[in-house]
Amino acid sequence: MTSPSDTRAATATAQEEVAHPQGFPAGSLPIGREITGRILPPLVALATVFVLWWALYLVFPRLLPGPLSTLHEAVRLLSEGTFLFHMYQSLRRVFVGSIVAMFFSVAVGIYMGTVVMGERFFQPLVVLGLTIPGLMWSLIAVMLFGINEIAPYFAVAVTIFPMLVINIWAGVKALDKELIDMSHVFHFSPWMKISQVIVPQLVPNIFAATRYGLGLAWKVVVVVEMFGTSNGVGYQVMKAYQIFNMEAVIAWTLTFVAAMILIEYGVINLVERRLTAWRPKVEVWRR
């Protein structure tokens, strides 16, 4: 028994196949299902947070600022000329620090996963690094480098490095031996083995590490900015705190979170989908 909408969906898929003779999945659904399937769930999640906040505000009106007045403050910030400047400063620090950490952690992670001596050497260092709080690194970085751009880069890179390494090291240990043997049999060069066989298998780990790393990096950047720079979101939050303006503190936080969510959906998700186009979609709970 097929309903008309099923038939339409089937026709649409057939047309897609004609439009893509190579048969790559086009990754797009009919527009109605696109909205219910992909856009609605995250919106519902955000709305839930908002509703909870509102409910709390109604119960304890003096404890925390209301969602509306905070939103108002956020809109005022956005219309201010300096907003983009501070946002840009913080985002730059997050990204430069993360990219440096990512670069080193991929190298060290692969080394640890493939060379026994590498694992023995780096494992205690990674465990040690995991236990040192980002706040410590922020203080140390500012004391070491003074008030300049090196301090936040250093603090971010050093704080998130151990977390990234753990992720990538775990991925390397789960590498498919059969494919590596295959690359050996067909005389792949070491560089071909890394770039064509090893790193593609680490893509899920690299994305998990990126998401985790960016979240952690922003927390470190804000701390450094509170006492180690004279611009950026952290600096603005500190200023708002000094005049006890809770609306501004939350508004700055919200705008930064919004920026990170935009990056997650606008960049990371797209790149990930692009890089995993070779994998047919899995539907575990079929409807």
Partner: protein
Amino acid sequence: MAQLLVKGAEKWFRREDGRPLKILDRLSFEAREGCVTVVVGPSGCGKSTLLNVIVGLEPLDRGELVFLNNARELPRRPLIGYVFQSPRLLPWKTVGENIALALKGAGVDQREREGRVHRYLELVGLKEFVNQYPLYLSGGQRQRAGLARALAIESDLVLMDEPFASVDELTARQLRQTTRHLCEQLHRTVLFVTHNLAEAAYMSDFVVALTERPACMAEYLANPLPSPRQWSPEIYGFAAELESKVTLKEEGDL
């Protein structure tokens, strides 16, 4: 003329508890140039280990491997094509890219690669799937892509480890035919592992029969059937002859 000599090969593995486990026991045979030599033996006797030793994935504990080209001994292990039991294609690369990478590893010029990819995909009947990812192919198609990759590097020697054991019988029959014809046509030296005696009878020019683990040579037979090979009742006759000489441990392996 021989392409590969295996002389007194011995191989041990270490068990979980540390005791040694002998896999290959003074195994000697040759793979003739331009011929398909089929290695048959019971499951677990060490056939895959033998191929892994030849290709250099495992070291040999005693004995030697001699690679020859026109009766001259090669100084080092040459490039060897390998069709694995599972296709072992890189799933994030298209079929064409998978073959091109093997060609790059084999030192084939960038300009020549594309032509070769197309030529060999056409030979195995996968021409229109060059830009397809392996996970969107059927099992038999993937196995054919693996076959194209092993042949495309144009090595002197090609190893095949039960390449059709995991595809259904009808597809396997087609693939055997394709493979046998390609090997005859391209004059490749092939070492083909199987535990299917009918397959051995159809594919082989020579048959090396191994004993149970530790594997040593039980029989070395020349296939009396003519080449180019056709499916004919005589194949089952030769398979029956093989069966009388080889004892496979499991019943119903055929």
